[in-house]
Symmetry: C2
Subunit: 469 residues, 2 copies
C-alpha cells in the first residue's frame, strides 16, 4: 500500500480557475457534490473508495477534449469513468482530480450490417448495443458478465464467456476515437477488417486503462446471430477430468462458443440459490453456435469426449428456457456465492495459463484455499485457460484479507511460472502493478514506461495505474 | 522521392572501430562484400537497390543484442533482414548501415501441441514451421504467398489467403522476443491465450517493420489440421456478382477458410500458363475446412448463394490433386501474369476496404487501368475486403511507372475515402509513408511519431520507414 500512500500525498486541491472554467463549460454537468464524488470514487474492487475532487459528465468527444485541455493546462489528474464495474481499482482517484463520466455518451453512431461493424460512443453498454442491433441478424459477442460500457471494455481489454469462440476486445475492436493527453482527437484505425498501416494505435489504447488517452468512440466487429444454439451440462469427479476434456475438445477443432467451468462450491451455491439440483461436483457448461446440423455435430463430439473423461449426468438444453435457466445460474454464480456469507467482501482473482497447465494451477490454488479454510469458489473460462477464484472475507478482519491476498499472490506467481499471465481479463489497475513487473521483467516494463511517458508526458491520465511513473 | 534523396544525404561511412568490433564478434558472419551488400539491399519492391554498408548474420538473440548495442554506440542504422520478400521497400538501406540477417536463426524452440502454440526463432519460414509440426495434427495457417520468415511476417503484420478464417499475424502472435534500441532483450507476452496485463507490447512490435525493435523469436498459435478439406471454383459475369456473393456467404456465418477472387486477366494468365480451361471471367476460388459433414454443408450453402448471384460453371475439387491444381494456379497467378510481358517490372498494389465497398473500389480501379491501357490483373482476398492490382510496366519507361503510381494513388485515396486502409497486408515501408498520413491524419501520426521517438531515440532502427523522423 506504500504506493497508494505516496501517491495520495501528491494530491493537491483543484485550482479555482479550473473549477470556474469547468463550471462555465459544463454547467450542471459539472459537480463537486460529495454524493457524486463518492459514486465516482468507488468500484467493484476490494479497495476503499478514493474520491475525485469533481465530476464532469461528457456528452461528446469535444467535451472530453475540452476537459483534457484544461486538465493538461493545470496538470490535474483525469480519470475516465464508464459504468464503474472494473475490479482492480482502475477508476479510484489516487491523487484526486477530475472523474470524467462517459455514461451519457450512449449514442449508436453507425451500424453497417453488410460489413458487420458498429460504431458507438464509449458509454454504450454491451446490452444496449445488442438491443439496438437485434433486428439486424447480428450480435456483439463480448460478455464480461457486468453490463459494462464498450469504452470501458476496450480500455480494460475485456472478454468473458464467449471469448473462446469470438475473441476478446483486442480482436474485436476495429478502430477507436481517442482524446490524447494534449486534447487532440485522433482516430486509431478504419473499418477495414485488416490493415498493415503503421503502428497499431488501436491495440495500444485497447487495454491501456485510461492511462494513455481517453476512448470516446469504439468501432467493433459484429457476428451473424447463429442459426441454432444449444447448451449442455455435465459433471466430473475431478477437476483434471473436466480440464482434460476441454483440452481434447479444443484440439479436435470443435468451434465451441462457450465452455464454462464451475467448481463444486460454485455448484453448491447456485443449487442453494436456484434450486437446480445439479451434482455438487466440478461441472462444465457448454454452448454451441452454428447451423442446425453443425450444432448437433459439435454436441455429439463433445458428448463422446466428455464420456471418455468419465463425465456424469450429461444433460441437453436445446430449448431456450432450459438454456436460459442454466446460463442464468452461471451468471448468478457470483451472487449466489455471496449468500454463503452475508455481508462479506469478495476478493476476486483472475489469471490465465496455457491450457495444458490449467488443472495444475487450479488444483494448487484450491488446495491453498482449503488449507486456509477460506470460503471460496472457482469459475473458469476454461477454453482460454482463464479462471477466477472468489474468496469471501470479512472486510473488518485484516488477517482474512491478508490471507486472501496471499493466496492470490501465490496463484499469480504460479501462473507466471507456467508462462501464463497475472490477468486474463480484469486488467492491472492498482492491484496488479507488482504482478505486472513480475510477469514482464524490468526490460519490458521500461518499454511500457517509455510509452506512458511519450503519450502522457505530464502524467495526468489516470496516474498511478498500470505502471509507476 | 525527395524523402529518399534527403535521407541518402545523411549516409555516413561506417566508423572503423565499429567495423573492427563487428569483425571481431562475428568473424566470417560479418561481410562487407559487394555481392552480400547487393543481396541485402534489394527486395521485391519496384525500388532500385539501396545497399547497406555491411551485413551481419545473427544466430541468436544475443548476437542481435550485441549488434544493436554497437550500432547504438556509433549511431549507425540497423535493418533487420529475413527472406527479402517484402514489397514496399522495407529492407532498403536508405542511409546505409548494417543489415542484420536473421535467416540463420531458423531453430524451432518449442512446440506445445496441447496448447497449440509454437515458439520459433525469427528466421523460421512458414513452410518450415509447417514441415516441422506436420506430425502433430496441427498447422500454422498464415500464408502470405512467399515463403517468408515468421519474424518478417510479424514485423509486416502479414496475412494472406487464410486470414478470412484464421486471422492475421496480429491475431496469431502470442508473444515475441525483441531486442530494443539500446540492446535490451525483452519478452512481450506469454503463452496465455488472452491477457489484460498492461500495454500490448506484442501488438506494438507486430507491424512495426523493424523500426521499434528487432524481433528475434515468435510464439504463434497453431490450429488443428481440419478433418476434411474441399475446394470449389465458379465464375461470374460481373465483379459485383462475385463480391455480393461473398458478402452474403460471410453474413450467413459460413466459416469459409479461403475465398480468393481472380479477375478475367488473372484467369487468362493462368489458363495460358497452366492450361486450366477456366472461363475467362471474374472467378471465385473457395476452400472449406471442417468435419466431413461440416465441409459438405458449407459447400452446399455456398453453392446456393453463388447460384443466386448468377454463378456459372460451379466445379468441385474434393480430391487433393484437383485442389492442389487449382491452388497452384492461384499461387502462380503472379508469375503467370509476368509471362504476358516478359522483362516487365511489376508494380503491386494493396488496399483493404469495408466489404460493402469492395466491388466499387475494384471496378473504379479496373476502369482506371483500362483507361490507361495498362497490362494488369486483380487478385483479391475478398472475404477480408483486400485486393491487389498487379501492373506490368517497362522499368526503363518513367512515364509508364508514373502512370502506374498514379493509378495506385487514386486507388488508395478511394480506399481511404471508403473508411478503408492504404495497406491490408504489405505494410508501409518506404512506399506508403504519404498514404499513411492521408489515412491517419496528423494527430494520429503525431502519436505514432511519439512512439518511434520513445522506442528508438537515436533513430537507428530501420530509419526512414513508416514515418519521417
Amino acid at each position: 500500500m506504500n504506493h497508494i500512500v505516496s501517491l495520495a500525498a501528491l494530491k493537491k486541491p483543484l485550482p479555482e480557475a479550473l473549477l470556474v472554467a469547468l463550471a462555465a463549460l459544463f454547467g450542471d454537468r459539472f459537480s463537486t457534490t460529495q454524493a457524486m464524488r463518492e459514486h465516482h470514487g468507488s468500484d467493484e474492487s476490494s479497495y476503499d473508495p478514493m474520491l475525485p475532487d469533481a465530476v464532469v459528465f461528457a456528452e461528446s468527444t469535444e467535451d472530453v477534449a475540452a476537459t483534457v485541455k484544461l486538465c493538461s493546462e493545470y496538470q490535474i489528474p483525469l480519470i475516465p469513468y464508464g459504468c464503474g464495474t472494473s475490479l482492480e481499482g482502475h477508476i479510484l482517484a489516487l491523487q484526486g482530480g477530475i472523474s470524467i463520466d462517459l455514461s451519457r455518451m450512449n449514442r449508436m453512431l453507425a451500424v453497417h450490417a453488410e460489413d458487420m461493424t458498429a460504431t458507438v460512443q464509449a458509454g454504450v453498454t454491451r446490452k444496449q448495443i445488442n438491443h439496438e442491433i437485434r433486428d439486424s441478424g447480428l450480435f456483439f459477442p463480448i460478455d464480461p458478465g457486468a453490463d459494462a460500457s464498450l469504452g470501458g471494455m476496450a480500455a480494460t481489454r475485456a472478454s468473458g464467456t464467449n471469448a473462446v469462440r469470438y475473441g476478446t476486445m483486442r480482436e474485436n475492436t476495429l478502430a477507436l476515437t481517442v482524446v490524447t493527453a494534449d486534447g487532440t482527437i485522433i482516430k486509431t484505425g478504419t473499418r477495414a477488417k485488416k490493415s498493415s498501416a503503421g503502428y497499431d494505435l488501436t491495440r495500444i489504447f485497447v487495454g491501456s486503462e485510461g492511462t494513455l488517452g481517453i476512448i470516446t468512440e469504439v468501432t467493433v466487429r459484429l457476428y451473424p446471430q447463429p442459426e441454432a444454439v444449444s447448451a449442455a451440462v455435465c459433471s466430473f469427479e475431478t477437476i483434471a477430468d473436466a480440464v482434460n476434456a476441454v483440452i481434447q475438445i479444443i484440439q479436435l477443432g470443435v468451434p465451441i462458443a462457450r465452455v464454462e467451468f464451475l467448481d463444486e462450491n460454485s455448484v453448491k451455491a447456485i443449487n442453494a440459490n436456484a434450486k437446480l439440483g445439479l451434482p455438487e461436483k466440478p461441472l462444465l457448461l457448454f454452448e454451441f453456435h452454428g447451423s442446425e446440423n453443425g450444432v448437433k455435430e459439435q454436441a455429439e463430439v463433445v458428448q463422446a469426449v466428455v464420456a471418455d473423461h468419465h463425465a456424469i449426468g450429461f444433460e441437453w438444453a436445446t430449448q431456450p428456457e432450459d438454456r436460459s435457466r442454466l446460463w442464468a445460474a452461471r451468471h448468478n454464480a457470483f451472487f449466489s456465492l455471496l449468500q454463503l456469507r452475508p455481508g462479506a467482501r469478495v476478493i476476486s482473482t483472475d489469471c490465465c495459463v496455457p491450457i495444458s497447465r490449467l488443472a495444475e494451477c487450479m488444483l494448487s490454488t484450491k488446495a491453498d484455499c482449503e488449507a486456509h479454510a477460506m470460503i471460496y469458489s472457482i469459475l473458469g473460462h476454461v477454453g482460454d485457460g482463464n479462471f477466477h477464484v472468489q474468496m469471501l472475507v470479512d472486510a473488518d478482519n485484516p488477517e482474512e484479507i491478508t490471507c486472501a491476498e496471499g493466496i492470490n499472490s501465490r496463484m499469480v506467481a504460479l501462473a507466471i511460472s507456467m508462462d501464463g499471465t497475472c490477468t486474463g481479463e480484469h486488467g492491472v489497475g492498482l492491484h496488479k502493478m507488482d504482478f505486472l513487473i513480475a510477469e514482464h521483467g524490468d526490460g519490458a516494463i521500461a518499454s511500457m514506461r517509455a510509452l506512458k511517458h511519450a503519450f502522457d508526458p505530464k502524467n495526468i491520465l489516470n496516474p498511478g495505474k498500470i505502471i509507476r511513473w
